[in-house]
Symmetry: C2
Subunit: 373 residues, 2 copies
C-alpha cells in the first residue's frame, strides 16, 4: 500500500494550542514509575472506607446485566436524588463525575477569551476544562486558608466572568464557609455570572455548611458526587443541581449514553442507604481526629477540615512540604500536597482506617527528620 | 434572601444555537412512556448474549474496590490492547465508549463552519457531536445499502473535510466493504482529512473485513469497542487506534479520570477470554441465520449482515416499516429502524437467544397483517 506523506489531522487552532496535560498523575502511574506499590493510598481524596455493602451488591448484580446500555436519562437515580433534595428531577443532571459535569458546563458557557474566576490552588481539573475551551482564568489567592468568596465575586464583576468556581468545603485545604456566609454573598453574584458551588465534600461538613439556595435561582449551580462521602470514586457518578434551563442545556452537548449502568445502580443503592452514609461520615470524623493527634504528636498543625482529608502544616515552606511528601511516598504512603502558596506549606492526607493511619504515624517521625535534615 | 431577577447563565453562541436533543431515546424511556416493559430487548444494538463470565467476575471483584478512582491512563487495558493488535500502547486511547471518543475527536478537529462528511442515515451520535462543535455535515446517500466510501472521499476532497465518517460494517444496515476495498480507497483520502473507520461491529464480520492499515498512517483513526462483540455496552469502554500524534492529542481535552474502574477491569478480562468471544460470535451468527429464516418464512428479505443485527426489508416504504416497528413494540418487542431512505424501508433487529427470537417469530405474522391492514 502506498504511504504518501500527507500531513494528517488538522486540529482546531484551540486544540493545537493546548498542552497534552494531565490534571493529576494517578497513583497507579506513580507506582509503575517507582517500581513498588503503595502500602497506604491516602493521596487521591478517595474514601478508603468504601461504599455501602448494598451499593456493592447492586453493582455486582448490574455487572450481570452489563450487556445493556445504561438509561441515558438516569431516570431512577435522578428521581431519587430529586426526592432526597426536595427538588424536581428537572433540576438534576447526572454525569460522569463532577469532572465530567464541569467539562460540560465549561463547554456550554466558555468560549475563547471568556473569563472565569477561581482561587489560586483550587481544583486543577476545573482549570483544565476552562483552558480547554479557550477560557481565561483569573486566580485569586486564598485568605486564611479559605477560598475568598467575596473577593471572587468582586473580581467576577470586574472581569465580567462567565463562571466563578467556589468549592465548599474547599479542596485541598479542607476549610469551609458556613451556609449563612454563602447566602449573604449571593446577592453579589454579578449579572450573567454563574457561581459553581462545588460541594463534593459537603456531606462530611458540619450541619449548616450547605447554604439554602432557591433551586430556581439562575445564578448558581451546585455539584455533588458519589465519589467522596458515598465512597464510589471509581464509579464516576456526579450530579449537578440548578434551575431547569441550565440543567436542560446539558442535553445539548453531553454524552447521553456515557453513564456506566452498574454505576447508576450502585449510586441508587448508596443513596438509599443513608444509615451507612452516616456511619461512614462518623468513621471519617474519627480518622480526622486521629490524624490531628498524629500531627500534634509530631509538633505539626493539622488544619481544621470539613472533608475526608486533612492538610497538615509542615511548619516550613513548599520545599519542606515537598520533602515530607517525597519521604512519605518513598515509604509507600501515598499523599499529595496543595499546588499553590500558601497551601503548599502543607501535605494533604485522606482519612483512612486505623491500619493506614498507623503506617502514617509510624513513618512520620523518621520522615520529618529526613525532610528537615 | 433577596432573589433578584438576573439573567443567569450566558451560554456561548454555539451552545445557545444547539437543540437539547437526544441522539436516541433509550428503551427504558420508551417503557416508561408506554407503561409496560419489553419482553425482548432487540433494538439498541446490544449483545443480548452478554460478556464472558470472567469479565463479569472481574467487574464484581472491582465493585468491592470502587472507592478507588480508575487508572486515568488505563495502562493495563491499553497495553493488553496493544499486544492484541500488534501496535504500541501509544497508538491506543481508551475512552467512555466510541461515543465518548467520537466527541473528543470532533472537539479536537472541528470548529464552527468546518466540514465533515458522512452518510445520510449513518450513526446519529457522530452527527450530534459534529454539530455540537459547530461543524457542517455533508451527508451522502447509501449505495446498494452500503456506505459509499469512494463517494465519501471524493466529497471530502471537494469540501475540504476535516473528518470523514465510515462505519465498517455499517450500522444500521449491517452491510460491509472488504478490507481490500478499503485499502484500495485509502490513497483517495484528501490532504488534511482524517478517515474515521468505525469498526464497532468488526469482530462479527467475515475474516478480511478489517483492512490492513499502517498504524502510523496519519490519515486514519479506527474505533473499536467492548460494547458489541464483547457484550459490555453498559460498561462504556471503547478505544481508538491511530498514529501516536493523534492519540496523544486526546490527552489535551479528555476527561482523564472519566473511566469507571470496574469497566476497565471487565474489559481487560473480556479481552483475555478470546475463547468466549469466538463462542459469542458463533452464537450471534446462528441467531442471524435464525432471523433470516423467520424473515423468509414471512415473505420478507433479511439483508446480508456482518454485525449482530439484521435489517429486514419490510417490502414497502418508510410508512410500512414504521407500522411494523410500532406493532412489534406494542407487543413488547423492542426494535428500531433506520432513519433515512433507502434504509428506512427496513426494521432493524438485534441477534438474541432463542427465547427472544421465538417471541419475534410468533409475533411477526400478526404484526405484518396489522401493519399492512
Amino acid at each position: 500500500m502506498t504511504q504518501n506523506r500527507r500531513h494528517g489531522p488538522r486540529l482546531t487552532a484551540l486544540a493545537e494550542s493546548l498542552p497534552a496535560s494531565v490534571p493529576f498523575v494517578g497513583p497507579e502511574a506513580q507506582e509503575r514509575i517507582q517500581g513498588f506499590e503503595f502500602k497506604a493510598r491516602l493521596g487521591a481524596n478517595e474514601n478508603v472506607f468504601g461504599p455501602s455493602p448494598k451499593a456493592i451488591d447492586a453493582m455486582e448484580r448490574a455487572a450481570r446485566d452489563i450487556w445493556m446500555y445504561g438509561d441515558p436519562e438516569s431516570h431512577d437515580l435522578r428521581h431519587a436524588l430529586a426526592a432526597h433534595h426536595g427538588v424536581n428531577p428537572e433540576n438534576i443532571m447526572v454525569g460522569e463525575g463532577i469532572d465530567g459535569l464541569l467539562g460540560y458546563l465549561a463547554r456550554l458557557t466558555v468560549g475563547p477569551g471568556d473569563t472565569v474566576v477561581t482561587s489560586d490552588g483550587a481544583y486543577p481539573t476545573f482549570n483544565y476544562h476552562v483552558a480547554g475551551f479557550g477560557g481565561v482564568l483569573e486566580k485569586l489567592p486564598y485568605r486564611d486558608d479559605r477560598e475568598d468568596l467575596p473577593a471572587l465575586l468582586a473580581r467576577a464583576a470586574e472581569v465580567d466572568a462567565k463562571l466563578v468556581y467556589f468549592a465548599n468545603p474547599d479542596n485541598p485545604m479542607g476549610s469551609w464557609l458556613t451556609g449563612a456566609e454563602i447566602e449573604a454573598a449571593l446577592d453579589d453574584i454579578p449579572d450573567g455570572t454563574v457561581l459553581i458551588l462545588d460541594e463534593a465534600y459537603v456531606e462530611f461538613a458540619p450541619l449548616g455548611t450547605a447554604p439554602q439556595i432557591d433551586i430556581d435561582d439562575p445564578r448558581v449551580i451546585r455539584m455533588r458526587t458519589f465519589s467522596k462521602a458515598y465512597g464510589m470514586a471509581g464509579a464516576r457518578v456526579g450530579y449537578a443541581m440548578a434551575a431547569e434551563p441550565l440543567i436542560t442545556a446539558f442535553n445539548k452537548i453531553r454524552n447521553h449514553f456515557g453513564m456506566n449502568r452498574a454505576a447508576q445502580a450502585g449510586a441508587l443503592a448508596a443513596l438509599a442507604d443513608q444509615q451507612y452514609l452516616a456511619e461512614n461520615i462518623a468513621r471519617v470524623a474519627a480518622a480526622r481526629e486521629q490524624i490531628n493527634r498524629i500531627a500534634a504528636e509530631n509538633g505539626l498543625t493539622a488544619l481544621p477540615s470539613a472533608t475526608n482529608f486533612v492538610a497538615i502544616d509542615c511548619g516550613g515552606d513548599e520545599t519542606l512540604a515537598k520533602a515530607v511528601l517525597d519521604a512519605l511516598v518513598a515509604r509507600g504512603i501515598f499523599v499529595r500536597m496543595p499546588f499553590a502558596a500558601p497551601g503548599n506549606r502543607c501535605i494533604r492526607l485522606s482519612c483512612g482506617p486505623d491500619r493506614d493511619l498507623a503506617l502514617f504515624a509510624s513513618a512520620l517521625p523518621g520522615v520529618l527528620q529526613a525532610a528537615r535534615g
